[in-house]
Structure formats: structure tokens, C-alpha cells
């Protein structure tokens, strides 16, 4: 009887209730995605920690992060291993089919990273006829491919398991540039100015980063609560402060849900 | 004579009736009849491949025999009768029960290389007889002493000569206090130098009245120790009797030929005697 009651209760609670009861919001993320999430001597740093901490305050819960390799993060979300995907993830039509995005938190437009020493590349078009790289299965890679197709002489596109291998191969000189979202590569360049530099301006369509939840009734209340929190952060400038801290600039991102992403 | 009669009057402890063993089509033991009385020593001799080992292994039910019966101290070995003449294989437990008073010694010793001599002897006492460790140890040492190896208690098989290993194997079997001991060519794997010590232990056993069935190529041993010698050929008992009858009666041509092997090989001794006699 007790067990039955318990399960019934469990069914009654939606995810928001559960999170409140548990007192913690569990977030799956990969700590190899500076500046959003990375480990500095084992201490997690980045946008997600600061931003979600604030969101947590609004919900009145702590935030616990689970560090996972990217391939197993979305499966983890579907398997209820956690409530929200950190990342963040670029909003695309395909992904909206399957997942529920929060409000955007950063600009995700694609730009190129090059070797600091490489004078041959001044603007994105200069990669024509050369080899470039991107992260397999990332939306940035898709945009890179479209962009390359528009060039007079198409560049050879290499696909990497994750961006870090691409950066490594950039230093070996096998490729001349790596395509990734502006915030990421800006941070990379800032970290190792001796090695890397950003090719401005960004190419490709305007896209945004957001967190990802499950697309079901159970999760909806939680995600709405988070959206509300983000709006609040917009209002009192906490979001802007965090962006300034990590990107060195304030990005203007829509305060309403993105319904028709550019890609 | 009196010795033989004394045994003839003792009760039968092991009996085989019309025993047959086939491997596929190949009949290896052919309706053998055999009675072993308490404290009788039976030696099985015969050419290689004649079925000596198989017969012996049937007596320990290491081989399922195909037909016939083996009774150990009155109990049927290996099968349970149900109905008139239908029988099924007995359970391991039942087999072990009937077999509890049978000990066996192998040509290849089959000591367990990862245990010391003492370990080999006490293992079964601990696992099967469930003796207390110190009790088992006591009896184990006593047995090793009996075969003259008390000093080697802590040596591993790999560190002992073949003769010593075989004596440990005998001690291991004796520790279970069997009523019947089966030996399958206990000395064939040994250097000639080492045969003597093992035969000596077996002679002592016989003298103490242990019932033994011995497959052997050591004619001297058979002659001196056996009460009954059985000559097997192609799975059948071709001749049986006292050593005297077998070795000195006028044997069947097959037995004659078999013994000839040994006569040739010991020609030197023959010559020596002739000379000595010449001198005398």
C-alpha cells in the first residue's frame, strides 16, 4: 500500500516538483567546452557555472553538474540521467523537432580560428582551396560546409571527434582554420595568443546558444521556470555581466523563444 | 599351500562377473570373471593393449563398464538395479559411497603439483572425510612415515624423484584407509634405480594383509608377492593361477612368447649364473 502511494505521488509530481523536493537541478555537460564549461585545475569554471548558479537561486535549488563526453550527453538526457543539458547547444530546426530549448543565452555565429603566425588568411574567403576543420555533428560544421560550397575554389573539410583535436591539428599545420562558434574560438585565442587568432568577421547565419531539456509535459514546467529566470537575469543585468566576464563583450540575444532559427 | 587356502576361505571383497567393456565397437574387456578375497594379492600381467588398465579402471568405476557386474564388499558398483535387468548409472554420491573403501595408484602418480606432499595426502581427509586440520595432519604425517617420506612432507612433487612421488601417491591413497588397493603399473614410469623402493613399500603392504590388485610388468614382484597371477590377452583371461603355475608350469604359446621378452632381456644374468655354476 505504501509503495503504491509513493509511486502514485511520484506520478503526481512533475519534474519541477521533483527538482524542488530534491533541492538540486542536475545538469549534464561536457567540461571541454570553454568558455562555457571547463576545468581549471579540477575546478569547474565558465559561463554555465555562473549563469546556472543564478538560475538555481531563482528556483531555490542547488545545481549539480555531470561531466560527460558529448556523444553520450543527449542520450543521457533522454535516459533521465539529468534534467537539463548544459553545453550549451546551438538552436537548429532539426534539434527543435526533438528537444525543448530554453531562451538563448549567447550568440553562436560561426567564425574561423587560424594560426597566429598565418598571414595568408585575413578574411573567411581566404580558406578557398585549403584544408579546414570542424567538430563532427556540430551545427558549425554544417554551416562551414555550406560556406565552403559558395567559394570559387572549395576548401577541403576535415571532421574531428571534438574541436580540441581540430585545434591540435591546426597547430600541426595540416589544416589552416577551424570553424566554431565565436564565443569558443574568441576564448581559445585569448588563452593562447601566441598560437591562435580569430578571423573576423564571422561568416554564416546568426544563430544562438541555449540550454536543452526534454520535450515532454513532465519537463515543461521546469523549463518554463528556467526561461522565467533567464528573463529576470536579462532584466537586472546579471546575464550581461556574465557575458562581459567570459566573452569580453555583451551580446544582444532575443528575450523571447527562438521559433524560426536560421538553420 | 596353507597361505593360499587361508585366503580362499577369507570372504570375497571384490567380485567381477562376466565383465565387458567396449569402446565403440572395440571390445577391450571380454566377460572377465574375478574374485578377490580379503588380503589376497592379485597381479594382472599381459601385453600392452590387452586391457589390463581398462579392467582395473572399471573396478574403480573410472570407466563405465558395458556389461556384467562388479560388487565391492557386496554392493553393486556404479549402477542401481531397477526392475529385472534394467539398470541406470548411480549418482556421484552413491558411486563414491560404494567406492569409499577402494584406493588407487596410477602409473603417472597424478600428484597435484600445487600442493606439498603432506598437502596431497591430507587434502581428501579434509574435504571428503572432513577431519580437523591437526587430526588430518597427524594422519598424513603417519602415512608419509609409513612410506619412508616423513622428511619430505613439505616438498612439492616437482622437487621429488619419481620413486618418491609414487610413494607419496601410495600414502595419499592409504590415508583414506581403503580395504582394497588398485595399482596400475606403479613402477613403469620410474628409473630402474627407483623401482626397488616402490616395490618394497608394496611388499610391506601385502605382508600387512592389504587386499591388492596390481597391474604390473615386474615379473619378479609378481612371482614373489602375488597369491594369484592373471594373464590377460586381448581383453580375456588366458591363464590364471599361482605364480608357480604361471611362470613354471608349461604355459600356453601366447604366454610363453610374452614371457620370452623378459628372458631375453635378462640374458646377462643367465650367463652370469652359468658361469658361477661352471665355477662351482
Amino acid at each position: 500500500v505504501l509503495a503504491f502511494a509513493a509511486s502514485a505521488a511520484a506520478q503526481a509530481d512533475d519534474l519541477l516538483e521533483k527538482v524542488r523536493k530534491a533541492g538540486e537541478l542536475v545538469v549534464g555537460t561536457e567540461m571541454q567546452f570553454a568558455p562555457f564549461d571547463f576545468l581549471d585545475n579540477g575546478v569547474q569554471k565558465g559561463v554555465n557555472v555562473d549563469l546556472l548558479a543564478e538560475v538555481g537561486k531563482e528556483l531555490g535549488v542547488k545545481v549539480r553538474f555531470i561531466d560527460l563526453p558529448w556523444p553520450s550527453i543527449l542520450p543521457g538526457l533522454e535516459a533521465n540521467k539529468f534534467d537539463l543539458v548544459g553545453g550549451p547547444v546551438t538552436i537548429t530546426r532539426a534539434r527543435m523537432q526533438r528537444y525543448r530549448f530554453t531562451l538563448p543565452i549567447a550568440d553562436a555565429s560561426v567564425a574561423l580560428l587560424k594560426r597566429a603566425s598565418d598571414a595568408a588568411i585575413a578574411k573567411p574567403q581566404d580558406i578557398a582551396g585549403k584544408a579546414v576543420g570542424g567538430g563532427k555533428g556540430s551545427s558549425q560544421l554544417e554551416q562551414l560546409k555550406q560556406f565552403v560550397a559558395t567559394l570559387p575554389e572549395p576548401a577541403k573539410v576535415r571532421e574531428y571527434v571534438d574541436n580540441n583535436q581540430a585545434y591540435a591539428d591546426l597547430t600541426t599545420g595540416r589544416i589552416v582554420a577551424v570553424a566554431n562558434s565565436l564565443p569558443n574560438i574568441a576564448y581559445v585565442a585569448a588563452q593562447r595568443p601566441d598560437a591562435f587568432a580569430v578571423v573576423t568577421p564571422p561568416f554564416g547565419a546568426k544563430t544562438y546558444f541555449a540550454y536543452v531539456g526534454r520535450k515532454d509535459a513532465d519537463s515543461e514546467p521546469l523549463l518554463q521556470a528556467i526561461d522565467a529566470a533567464i528573463v529576470k537575469l536579462h532584466a537586472d543585468g546579471r546575464l550581461a555581466a556574465i557575458q562581459k566576464k567570459w566573452f569580453g563583450l555583451v551580446m544582444d540575444v532575443p528575450q523571447t523563444a527562438v521559433t524560426a532559427p536560421a538553420i | 599351500m596353507n597361505q593360499t587356502s587361508r585366503i580362499a576361505n577369507a570372504e570375497v571383497v571384490l567380485q567381477a562377473r562376466q565383465l565387458c567393456k567396449r569402446f565403440g565397437a572395440h571390445e577391450v574387456v571380454r566377460s572377465v570373471d574375478l574374485e578377490v578375497h580379503r588380503s589376497e594379492v592379485v597381479c594382472l600381467i599381459g601385453p600392452s593393449g590387452s586391457g589390463k588398465s581398462t579392467l582395473l579402471r572399471c573396478m574403480a568405476f573410472l570407466e563405465e563398464y558395458s556389461a556384467g557386474e562388479i560388487h565391492i564388499e557386496g554392493e553393486l558398483l556404479g549402477y542401481v538395479q531397477n526392475g529385472a535387468d534394467r539398470r541406470v548409472r548411480a549418482s556421484e554420491a552413491q558411486i563414491n559411497h560404494v567406492r569409499r573403501n577402494v584406493g588407487m595408484v596410477f602409473q603417472q602418480f597424478n600428484l597435484w603439483p600445487h600442493m606439498s606432499a603432506l598437502g596431497n595426502v591430507t587434502e581428501a581427509l579434509l574435504r571428503v572425510r572432513r577431519l580437523k586440520p591437526d587430526e588430518a595432519r597427524r594422519r598424513g604425517l603417519a602415512m608419509l612415515d609409513k612410506v619412508g617420506l616423513a622428511a619430505k612432507a613439505d616438498a612439492y612433487p616437482g622437487q621429488m624423484s619419481g620413486g618418491q612421488q609414487q610413494r607419496v601417491a601410495i600414502a595419499r591413497a592409504l590415508a583414506m584407509e581403503p580395504h582394497i588397493m588398485l595399482f596400475d603399473e606403479p613402477t613403469s614410469a620410474l628409473d630402474p634405480e627407483l623401482v626397488g623402493e616402490v616395490l618394497q613399500v608394496m611388499k610391506d603392504l601385502a605382508r600387512e594383509g592389504m587386499t591388492m590388485v596390481v597391474v604390473t610388468h615386474e615379473m619378479g614382484f609378481a612371482a614373489q608377492v602375488a597369491d594369484t597371477v592373471m594373464f590377460l590377452d586381448q581383453g580375456a583371461v588366458v591363464a590364471r593361477g599361482t605364480p608357480r603355475e604361471i611362470f613354471q608350469g608349461n604355459p600356453s604359446p601366447r604366454l610363453q612368447q610374452f614371457l620370452q621378452n623378459y628372458l631375453d632381456r635378462n640374458a646377462f644374468w643367465q650367463q652370469e649364473r652359468e658361469l658361477k655354476e661352471g665355477a662351482a
Binding site: E78, K136, G137, A168 | -
Partner: protein, 223 residues
């Protein structure tokens, strides 16, 4: 969690290419590995103490570090020491080197498993050490080491998945890629399982057949 086999059938060509690359890299690695491994094992027989010491160190070094790390250092670290390799060739060579030490150990064990007397008999008949290895030891040891070889070949088939970190589009890379693009995780993993099961099962069956063939004389053994 929906199940849409359609996603797989759409990308069948891509997957087929991935499988082809996996099998190719695997075969290449195995061949190279066996060759080097045999060489090492034979050198250990012929060479003096200090060469054996070097080989020993090579074995322990390669055996002691993950293939992932080795391949990463070979491919991304190579250029720093003037060693430029194409992804696939780097992968195959890396796999071969990685496998070589395990093959070497298996062969060494095999050589030792042949009774010393057989070699002495050959020596007394005036056969050279090399003839003895080729004609007496190798044929005999095969029977004994085939199961170990099959084990190792199967292990290497799994290691090919690592080649993805140097941008070789092998099966695992292609499928996980498709997975994270289309979110068809179950489907892709299923294909992955079936493919590898098929490969390993095929390998062990071939191994068994080979075992029987080289084991002819063993099967005849009376006892």
C-alpha cells in the same frame, strides 16, 4: 524513445564506407603487427642480452600505454619531429605497432612451447637455427597459439574505433556522428553491435577452421 530504421537505410552508403575503412585498417594493422611481432620474437632468439633488453623495453612501453594516446602522439605529435602522416596511414601504422608487441609475446610463448628435444634433434642433423625455426618450431607452435592469435585479432578489431580521433571516418565515427546528428542513438548503436559481432564471429570461425587445419597431426594423437 522512438525507433526509426529509416535513418540507417538512408545513410547506408556512408555506413558501408565506414565499415570498409574499419575492415581495411584492421586487416592492414593485423598484417603489419604480425610481421613486426614475428621479427621481434625471432630477434629475441638470436640477439644478445642488450638487444633483448631494448626489445623488452619496446614491448613494455607499447603494451603499457593506450592505443588512443599512442595514435594521438604519432599523428599530432609526429609533425613536431618532422613526421607527417596521412590520417589513414597513421592509423594503420599505429595499429600495427600497437599490435606488434602482443603478437611478439604470443610468438615468443609459442617458440618456447616446442620441446627442447625437437630442436636438439634438428641440431644433431645439422639443420641451422633458422631452418629449425622455419621448419620445426613455427609449424608446431601454430596449433598452440592460434586461439591466442584469434583473441588478439578480435581485440584489434575493436581498437580500430580509436582511429576516429585522427579523422579517419571508420564505422564507429560515422555511426556516432549520425547518432548525434539525427539523435537515432539506439539504431546506430544497434548497427554498431551487429557489425562488430559479425566481424568477430567470422574471425573466430575462420580461426577454428585454421586451427583444425594446422592441427591435423594433433587430432591423430593416440592419447
Amino acid at each position: 524513445m522512438s525507433f526509426e530504421p529509416g535513418i540507417i537505410t538512408e545513410r547506408l552508403v556512408e555506413i558501408g564506407q565506414g565499415l570498409a575503412i574499419t575492415v581495411g585498417a584492421w586487416a592492414g594493422g593485423v598484417v603489419i603487427g604480425m610481421a613486426i611481432g614475428l621479427l621481434i620474437a625471432v630477434l629475441q632468439i638470436f640477439c644478445g642480452a642488450w638487444v633483448r633488453g631494448l626489445l623488452r623495453f619496446y614491448i613494455e612501453l607499447i603494451r603499457g600505454t593506450p592505443f588512443l594516446v599512442q595514435l594521438f602522439l604519432l599523428y599530432y605529435g609526429g609533425p613536431a619531429f618532422g613526421l607527417e602522416l596521412e590520417p589513414l596511414s597513421a592509423g594503420v601504422i599505429g595499429l600495427g605497432i600497437y599490435g606488434s608487441v602482443y603478437f611478439a609475446e604470443i610468438f615468443r610463448a609459442g617458440f618456447m612451447s616446442v620441446p627442447r628435444g625437437h630442436l636438439e634433434a634438428a641440431a644433431c642433423l645439422g639443420m641451422t637455427r633458422l631452418q629449425t625455426i622455419a621448419r620445426i618450431q613455427l609449424p608446431q607452435m601454430l596449433v598452440i597459439i592460434v586461439p591466442a592469435l584469434v583473441n588478439l585479432v578480435i581485440i584489434l578489431s575493436k581498437e580500430t574505433a580509436v582511429l576516429s580521433i585522427v579523422t579517419v571516418p571508420e564505422l564507429t565515427f560515422v555511426l556516432t556522428g549520425i547518432g548525434s546528428e539525427t539523435f537515432a542513438f539506439v539504431e546506430t548503436l544497434l548497427v554498431l553491435c551487429v557489425s562488430y559481432l559479425a566481424l568477430t564471429e567470422l574471425t573466430s570461425r575462420l580461426g577454428l577452421r585454421f586451427e583444425r587445419r594446422v592441427g591435423r597431426f594433433m587430432l591423430h594423437r593416440a592419447s
